[in-house]
């Protein structure tokens, strides 16, 4: 019987993914990029759609929401997982609406009217069974996967619009998106890159070696020298872990200092962030915003006696408010931070903000 066999296979896949998430986020396992996480999540969701037993869109959404909650609980700081779940939910809603025949735009215009008059959940509408729904949803998820695969290239293609020759560009830590961005521009233009090493993980070193191998003039500086060299920098280009709903960033620690220094010298701050990093979270969620790793990175155990008498913090992320950001470059083009809320409403349905 293919049914139960498929189910156990599916649960196995999900469990494997969850344990991978838990391990990968601690900082000791191989650090996977957000793009990989996004792709794997979407592939897994496609598998769930294909193999799980469901009869109507509502059932499917319930299953996906349940799995999504489990996945986000495994690693709360990895927001791409939640983002992909919300994207898939939106896809399901859209496909359902299309199958039913009603256009999306009418829904959007009447949404305020609906809020005031009906007040009832629109979920009861999802009980209809449509035979081609499964195929449509899977096709849409495949489109999403193709979009995910092309994000880095799409962003890198825009590089020449933003970098002129003999520029001095500053970046911090290691971002694969920014690396591809700069390497693409380096094929046609000559410029200098200054990389802040971003202690204690010092991922900036990897970034610098990789950029210099591509022939770009690179300099590695310590974090403490960011403000000192900022006066000679023309642009700051950074990557981020998450783009928050207000246009702010949750980025690697040290980015806030970098953004403040750039603001002081009126240097533009450009964030290269693909659309799957956009998250409907706001920064005032005290418990979930910061993530800490072992203080051994900051004060090693070899320091001995003083360890028991001091508090040591090793936060991983920094909040950067949207006022310090000049431009977001995503796979669909460039946007100002004030436009992020609009993109959010196109990507996710408001009811899915809370999984």
């Amino acid at each position: 019987m293919p049914g139960p066999y498929k189910e156990t296979d599916l649960t196995e896949r999900v469990e494997a993914f969850l344990s991978d998430l838990k391990r990968g986020g601690s900082g000791t396992g191989p650090l996977r990029g957000s793009a990989e996480t996004a792709r794997e999540t979407t592939a897994l969701l496609r598998k769930i759609t294909a193999q799980a037993r469901w009869s109507s869109a509502g059932d499917l959404m319930e299953i996906i929401r349940k799995e999504g909650r489990r996945m986000t609980a495994a690693q709360p700081s990895e927001t791409t997982v939640g983002n992909m779940v919300r994207r898939v939910l939106k896809i399901i809603r859209e496909e359902y609406a299309r199958s039913r025949g009603s256009s999306e735009e009418a829904d959007q215009q009447e949404s305020l009217h609906k809020l005031l008059t009906s007040g009832g959940l629109s979920e009861e509408n999802f009980r209809h069974h449509f035979a081609p729904l499964k195929a449509n949803v899977i096709e849409a998820i495949n489109e999403l996967l193709t979009e995910l695969e092309g994000t880095t290239d799409n962003i890198a293609m825009q590089a020449l619009e933003h970098i002129h020759s003999n520029e001095v560009i500053m970046t911090i830590g290691r971002s694969r998106t920014v690396e591809a961005f700069l390497k693409d521009a380096a094929r046609k233009r000559k410029f200098h890159v200054i990389v802040a090493e971003c202690a204690p993980f010092c991922q900036g070193h990897e970034m610098a070696t990789s950029l210099s191998k591509a022939g770009i003039e690179t300099t590695v500086i310590a974090d403490a020298a960011i403000f000192a060299v900022m006066s000679r920098v023309n642009k700051v280009i950074i990557g981020t872990q998450t783009v928050l709903a207000n246009g702010g960033l949750r980025a690697v620690n040290g980015t806030h200092t970098l953004a403040l220094a750039a603001k002081h010298h009126s240097t533009p701050l450009i964030v290269c962030a693909p659309m799957f990093k956009l998250s409907p979270q706001f920064p005032n969620e005290e418990d979930t915003f910061h993530k800490f790793v072992s203080p051994h990175e900051v004060l090693p155990f070899t320091e001995g006696e003083i360890l028991s008498k001091v508090n040591v913090h090793c936060p991983v992320f920094d909040y950067v408010p949207p006022e310090l950001i000049t431009l977001f470059i995503s796979n669909i083009g460039g946007h100002a931070p004030s436009y992020i809320y609009r993109l959010m409403s196109e990507l996710y349905h408001p009811e899915d903000h809370e999984l």
């Binding site: 010092c202 974090d223 403490a224 020298a225 403000f227 040290g254 403040l260 001091v310 913090h313």
Partner: protein, 532 residues
């Protein structure tokens, strides 16, 4: 040159008339020779073409040096290469040997005239022209708004081959080895030295080195390896080494102590400069010592003179460093309240002293120590604070915007305070001040007045120190990413030591003279100069 001589002429009195007329005659002779030289220069310029003339013109305009001194800089370069970089050298004809001595004599005459003027205005003061020449290495302290004859320090002119050649010759004369630069230098900093810690200067010294006192050799090694670090520590160590030198000093026959001792100190200072560029506080201390030495009258017996000098140095350390720290601690305690959370950066001996005193007086506060790679000096401060029983938190500088919302005050130490109000301190200080300002946390800088400096600087590039670039390498999980950075041609490592903080980030400067805003530094300098 003419303007200077004219101003001096007006100050002197009738009694010096005879000598002045002699000076006048000497000057007239030199003026004629200068005119001849100028004619020669013009001929050369015409032959070399207009391009280089334009370049030389702009160079002459840029260098704030009167023609007399500029010739002494340019003449040693005997390379007649027409390369556009060494344009100044191509200006002169292959210099005749008697030129330097003539200009030296000119300078001596000038100085003697100035001495006599000062003698006339201040009876009882004795000075020799030789000592004034010795202090010419540091910038000449301006007195009564005279045109300042500034000579740029050598350690920020590494990209000028003439200056390097001159330095090499000077070191050869003094029998001190020249330290070679190491590694690929970032282009923005090609005018600074970059040394490797693994190749200390002492390895190049011959074993029976009679030129340099062993205490000074040891001190130089301690500086270059970072064993003695921090501006107070370095100055005190320097003064102790000088005391040892003075104790062991014996005046050679037919020499005056006041002149010879200063000449003995010159190679030591060059050596220490090669080991690690001198700090502003060390520069001020050296100026003071040289002044005291030159003020020794020739009637003084050797033993008496030596004990007098030792007392002077003791007084300097006691007054300017130890008592100043006490005074600063007393006034800072008013700024520390109970339940305060104080942020400190790196290891500043003065800030640590303040915190210890406040803790002794019973204030309840906790400290957050911020540290940065690659020096990690904050760990030393952390150890000292924890030993005293102060509760501490420790973070790296990248986490400073996470921890700042908890902080009520920031205390920073300084390496030097510049005349335009900028604070020169360990790299990262300006960053902390920037983020503190963004969070509206007050920033207090603590600095003794002997670290005040007449230089002005607006960015951290022109005058800085480059540390060993290999320090930036780190081994994580068994892998060192930057291990082979030397082999990759387009990769450079930058390890800055100092940076400057603009005065708008600093709320208050606490000195032993009181609490002043950053912009009052030139006022304090002026008051100090008038006192001395």
């Amino acid at each position: 040159f003419l303007l200077i001589s004219a101003s001096l002429f007006s100050v002197t009195k009738q009694t010096e008339g005879k000598e002045l007329t002699k000076e006048e005659k000497q000057r007239l002779r030199k003026e004629k020779k200068q005119q001849k030289k100028n004619k020669e220069k013009k001929d050369e310029k015409a032959s070399q073409g207009s391009e280089k003339e334009k370049k030389s013109g702009s160079l002459a305009a840029a260098a704030p040096q009167p023609p007399a001194k500029s010739t002494t800089v340019k003449t040693p370069s005997a390379v007649p290469a027409p390369a556009p970089v060494s344009v100044p050298s191509s200006l002169e004809a292959p210099a005749p040997v008697d030129k330097p001595s003539k200009t030296k004599a000119e300078l001596k005459a000038e100085r003697r005239a100035r001495q006599e003027a000062e003698r006339a205005s201040k009876p009882g003061k004795k000075g020799e022209p030789g000592q004034q020449a010795a202090s010419g290495k540091q910038k000449a302290p301006p007195s009564e708004l005279q045109p300042v004859i500034k000579r740029l320090p050598e350690h920020i002119q590494v990209d000028n081959p003439d200056v390097l050649k001159k330095l090499a010759k000077k070191l050869e004369r003094q029998q001190i080895p020249l330290r070679l630069d190491y590694g690929y230098k970032v282009s923005l900093f090609s005018h600074l030295h970059q040394y490797s810690r693994k190749a200390p200067l002492t390895q190049q010294l011959s074993i029976p080195s009679t030129v340099i006192h062993p205490a000074v050799v040891r001190l130089g090694l301690q500086y270059s390896q970072g064993i003695v670090a921090g501006s107070n520590a370095r100055s005190v160590a320097l003064l102790h080494a000088f005391k040892q030198v003075i104790r062991d000093y014996i005046t050679p026959p037919n020499e005056e102590l006041s002149r010879d001792l200063v000449n003995k100190l010159k190679p030591y200072i060059s050596f220490l400069n090669q080991c690690r560029p001198l700090s502003a506080s060390m520069g001020n201390a050296i100026k003071y010592v040289k002044k005291e030495i030159s003020n020794i009258s020739s009637q003084c017996k050797e033993e008496e003179a030596k004990s007098k000098l030792l007392n002077c140095i003791e007084w300097y350390i006691k007054e300017k460093i130890i008592l100043a720290a006490k005074a600063i601690a007393e006034s800072s305690i008013e700024k520390i309240n109970n339940e305060d959370v104080i942020l400190v950066y790196g290891c500043s001996s003065l800030v640590n002293h303040i915190l210890f005193e406040a803790f002794e007086k019973g204030r309840k506060f906790r400290v957050i120590v911020v540290d940065s790679r690659p020096r990690l000096e904050g760990r030393e401060a952390l150890r000292r604070l924890v030993q005293r029983g102060i509760s501490c938190t420790y973070v790296l500088i990248s986490a400073v915007s996470y921890i700042l919302p908890e902080v009520s005050k920031v205390f920073l130490g300084a390496h030097a305070l510049l005349a335009n109000g900028y604070v020169m301190s360990r790299v990262g200080t300006s960053q902390i001040a920037l983020v503190a300002r963004a969070f509206n946390v007050p920033v207090l800088v603590c600095c003794e007045t002997y670290k005040f400096c007449e230089r002005v600087q607006t960015d951290s590039f022109v005058s800085n120190e480059l540390d060993d670039p290999d320090d930036l390498m780190v081994t994580r999980n068994g892998k060192t990413q930057l291990e082979s950075w030397q082999e990759v041609p387009s990769l450079g490592l930058l390890n800055l030591v100092y940076d400057v903080t603009p005065p708008d980030f600093v709320d208050l400067v606490i000195t032993e003279l009181g609490m002043i805003p950053c912009t009052s530094v030139p006022v304090v300098l002026r008051v100090k100069n008038v006192d001395q």
